[in-house]
C-alpha cells in the first residue's frame, strides 16, 4: 500500500517535532507538555488577572513610577525594601528599584513583543509555504530551518549582538530574525496534516484556489496553536533578552533593564541581596504569567476542540 507507507525519516521528523529543547527560545516542549494539564476556570482567571496587570504596568508604567529610574540619590544608597520611601529598596547609586523594575518591564515587553511579531510573521509564512506543496520551496525552507535550528541560537545571538552593537533595534532584529524556527515547525506540522484532510482534497477537486484553501481552511486550523506558541515564545524571548542584557551585550549599559539590574546586583550580594531579588522576581513573574497564558489558551482551545472534533 504505497499510499499508506510512511518513510521512517518522516517518523523521526514527527517524533522530533513532538519532542523538544532546553533552548528558552523553543517553546515546543512546553507546547507539548501543556497537553498534560487541564486548567480549571480559577486558573484561567488567575492567568488573566496576572496578564492584565502586566499589560497595565507596561502601558501606564510611567505614571506608576515613584522616582526617576535613572536618577539616584547617593545619600539614600542601599535602602532596604520599604525604607526611605523606596517601595522595593534602592541600589548602589540610590536609585529606586521599583521604578527601575517597571522601566525594565517596559523595555522587555517592547523588545519581546516586537521580536515575537516578527517571528510570528516569518515563521507562519514559511511554515505555510512549506506545507502547501511539495517541491523546491519546501526543500529549501526545511533545509534552512533545520540548519538554523541545529545551531544553538544563543551563540549566534551573542556574536551578532556584540558585533552589530548594543541597543533596542539590533537586539529586536537579532531575536526577530533568528528565533522564528518554532513557529515554522509547529505551523508546518499542523498545516501538513490539515492539507491531507479530505475537506481540503474536496476543495481542491472543486477547483477552490490555493490561497482560498490556505486562508479559509489551513490558517484557521492552525490559529489556536499560533496563539499558544505566541504566549510561550513571548516568555522565551523575555528570558533571552534579559540573558543578553545580563551578559552586558543586549541593552546599553545604564539603561534600566532586568538584565542590567541583575548584573549590577552581583557586586553587592552580601550587602544588598534585594538588588538581586527584585529583578529576579520580576523576570520570574513575567515569564510565569506568559506561560500561564499559554497553558490557559491551550486548555481553552482543547475544550473547544473536544466539542468540535470529538
Amino acid at each position: 500500500m504505497p499510499e499508506n507507507s510512511k518513510q521512517p525519516s518522516d517518523a523521526l521528523a514527527i517524533a522530533k517535532t513532538a519532542g523538544v529543547s532546553l533552548n528558552p527560545l523553543d517553546p515546543t516542549s512546553r507546547f507539548n507538555a501543556s497537553k498534560l494539564k487541564q486548567f480549571t476556570n480559577t486558573e484561567i482567571v488567575i492567568a488573566f488577572i496576572l496578564f492584565v496587570t502586566l499589560v497595565i504596568l507596561a502601558v501606564f508604567g510611567s505614571f506608576l513610577q515613584t522616582h526617576d529610574p535613572m536618577q539616584g540619590d547617593l545619600l539614600k544608597r542601599f535602602a532596604k525594601v520599604g525604607e526611605k520611601g523606596y517601595l522595593l529598596g534602592s541600589d548602589h547609586l540610590g536609585r529606586d528599584l521599583w521604578s527601575r523594575a517597571v522601566a525594565g518591564l517596559q523595555w522587555s515587553m517592547a523588545c519581546a513583543l516586537t521580536a515575537n511579531v516578527i517571528n510570528l510573521l516569518i515563521g507562519t509564512s514559511l511554515g505555510l509555504m512549506a506545507a502547501e506543496k511539495e517541491g523546491w520551496a519546501r526543500t529549501i525552507i526545511r533545509q534552512f530551518t533545520d540548519t538554523l535550528q541545529s545551531f544553538p541560537f544563543l551563540v549566534v545571538a551573542i556574536v551578532v549582538v556584540v558585533i552589530v552593537g548594543h541597543g533596542f533595534v539590533p537586539l529586536v532584529l537579532t531575536l526577530g530574525l533568528g528565533a522564528w524556527v518554532v513557529f515554522m515547525r509547529v505551523v508546518y506540522a499542523e498545516a501538513t496534516s490539515i492539507y491531507q484532510r479530505d475537506y481540503v482534497k474536496a476543495a481542491r477537486i472543486a477547483g477552490v484556489s490555493r490561497s482560498a484553501i490556505m486562508f479559509g481552511h489551513v490558517l484557521p486550523g492552525v490559529r489556536a496553536s499560533l496563539f499558544v506558541i505566541f504566549a510561550f515564545h513571548f516568555a522565551g524571548l523575555l528570558i533571552a533578552e534579559s540573558a543578553l542584557s545580563f551578559l552586558g551585550i543586549g541593552a546599553p549599559l545604564g539603561v534600566p533593564t532586568w538584565g542590567n539590574m541583575l548584573a549590577e546586583s552581583r557586586q553587592y550580594l552580601l550587602k544588598a541581596p534585594w538588588m538581586l531579588m527584585v529583578p529576579a522576581g520580576a523576570i520570574v513573574l513575567a515569564v510565569i504569567t506568559m506561560n500561564l497564558v499559554g497553558d490557559g489558551i491551550a486548555s481553552l482551545s482543547r475544550k473547544r476542540g473536544r466539542s468540535i472534533d470529538v
Binding site: 523521526l12 516542549s29 541560537f153 540573558a243 552580601l270 523576570i283 500561564l292
Partner: protein
C-alpha cells in the same frame, strides 16, 4: 482461500544486496551533507560579520600603531587583498582545520578551543544526567494516573520552576549557598573538586528538568490511553508492569528526542552559566573572545560547536533507531 500471501515472509529486512547497503548509507550521507552546509553557512556568515565589526590589523597592532606598522601587518597577513580573495583563502585554510592564531594569546585558535571541549562536555553531561535522573521517574509517576492533590502540587511546582531562567537560579543559588551559607564556592572549576561542580550543574538542570518532566508525563499519559495498554490490562498485567514495561518505553521515545536537543543546545547555550561561575568552557571562551574581538577563536568555536551539535544529533538518531524497532528494521 489461500493463506499463502498471509504467510509470505515480510519483505522488510529480508535480503541485503549491495544496492540495499548503499541506500542504507543514504541517511548518513544526507546527515553529512547537512553538516557541510551548516559549517559552510556559519563560517561564511561569521567571516563577513566579523569583518564588519573591526579591522583585524588594528586589533593585531594595537590602537597606537602607526599607519606604516598597520600597512606592514596588513601585508603580512594578506589583509590588503580584496575581501573576496581573503574569503577564499580563509575557507581553504578552514578546510585544513587551520583557523589561524588567537589574537590574544598567539596560540592556535583551534587548539585553544579543543582545550575547552572536555570541560563543557563535563558540565553539560552532568546537567543532562541530573535532569534525566529526576525527570524520567518523576514524569512517569506524574503521567501514570489522573490528577490528584499530590500530582497537582508537583505539576504546580514544575510550572513555577519552568518560569525561572537558569541564570536567575544560578544567582539565587550563589546568594544562598556561597554568600550566605558559605557551603560551596561561588565560582571556579577544579577537575578534582566536585564541590565546584554542584552549583553550575544544579543551575542548568533546574531549567532543564521541568520541561523534560512534563514532556515525559504527557507522553506517559498519552501512552496509557493506547490500545496496547488495554490489551496488556486485559491480559492481567499489574500496574507496575503496565507502567514500566509498556507505557514508559514508548513514552521515552519522545523524551529521547528532547534529551538530545537539550544536550545539543547546552554545548553553546551554557555560555551564561559558564560565565557566571567562571567555568572555563566553550561558552565562557565565546564571550571572552567575542568581546576582545578575537576572531580566529570565535570562528574555531563556531566550527567546533557545529560539529559537536551534529554529533549529538546523529547519536540521538542512533539511540532512536535503537529504541524504536519500527525505525530499526526498516533501515533507509
Amino acid at each position: 482461500m489461500s493463506s499463502v500471501a498471509e504467510n509470505a515472509p515480510n519483505s522488510a529486512g529480508a535480503k541485503t544486496t549491495g544496492q540495499d547497503l548503499l541506500t542504507g548509507l543514504i541517511p548518513l550521507l544526507l546527515q553529512l551533507r547537512k553538516l557541510a552546509w551548516l559549517i559552510f553557512a556559519v563560517t561564511t556568515l561569521l567571516f563577513f560579520v566579523l569583518r564588519q565589526a573591526g579591522d583585524p590589523a588594528l586589533v593585531l597592532a594595537g590602537n597606537d600603531a602607526t599607519p606604516e606598522q598597520l600597512a606592514a601587518i596588513r601585508a603580512q597577513f594578506g589583509l590588503d587583498r580584496p575581501l573576496i580573495i581573503q574569503y577564499f583563502s580563509y575557507m581553504w585554510n578552514v578546510l585544513q582545520f587551520d583557523f589561524g592564531k588567537s589574537l590574544a594569546s598567539a596560540e592556535p585558535a583551534l587548539g585553544k578551543v579543543l582545550d575547552m571541549v572536555p570541560r563543557t562536555l563535563h558540565l553539560a553531561g552532568m546537567a543532562i544526567l541530573l535532569t534525566a535522573t529526576i525527570a524520567i521517574p518523576l514524569g512517569s509517576w506524574l503521567g501514570f494516573k489522573p490528577e490528584n492533590p499530590e500530582r497537582r502540587a508537583v505539576s504546580g511546582f514544575l510550572f513555577v520552576m519552568q518560569g525561572v531562567p537558569g541564570f536567575v537560579t544560578a544567582l539565587v543559588l550563589i546568594q544562598v549557598f556561597a554568600v550566605n551559607l558559605r557551603w560551596l564556592p561561588s565560582l571556579g572549576y577544579e577537575w578534582f573538586e566536585p564541590k565546584t561542580w554542584v552549583l553550575p550543574t544544579c543551575s542548568l538542570a533546574s531549567f532543564l528538568f521541568p520541561s523534560l518532566t512534563r514532556v515525559v508525563a504527557a507522553n506517559v499519559a498519552e501512552a496509557m490511553r493506547e490500545d496496547y495498554i488495554r490489551t496488556a490490562r486485559a491480559n492481567g498485567a499489574s500496574q507496575s508492569a503496565l507502567l514500566w514495561k509498556h507505557a514508559v518505553p514508548n513514552a521515552l521515545l519522545g523524551a529521547a528526542a528532547l534529551i538530545g536537543t537539550q544536550f545539543a543546545a547546552l554545548l553553546g547555550g551554557s555560555a551564561i552559566i559558564e560565565t557566571i561561575f567562571s567555568w572555563p568552557g566553550m561558552g565562557w571562551l565565546l564571550l571572552e573572545s567575542v568581546q576582545t574581538l578575537d576572531f580566529p577563536v570565535v570562528q574555531a568555536l563556531a566550527f567546533m560547536i557545529a560539529i559537536m551539535v551534529f554529533t549529538v544529533n546523529a547519536c540521538t538518531d542512533l539511540v532512536f533507531r535503537f529504541l524504536d524497532p519500527r525505525l530499526r528494521t526498516k533501515g533507509a
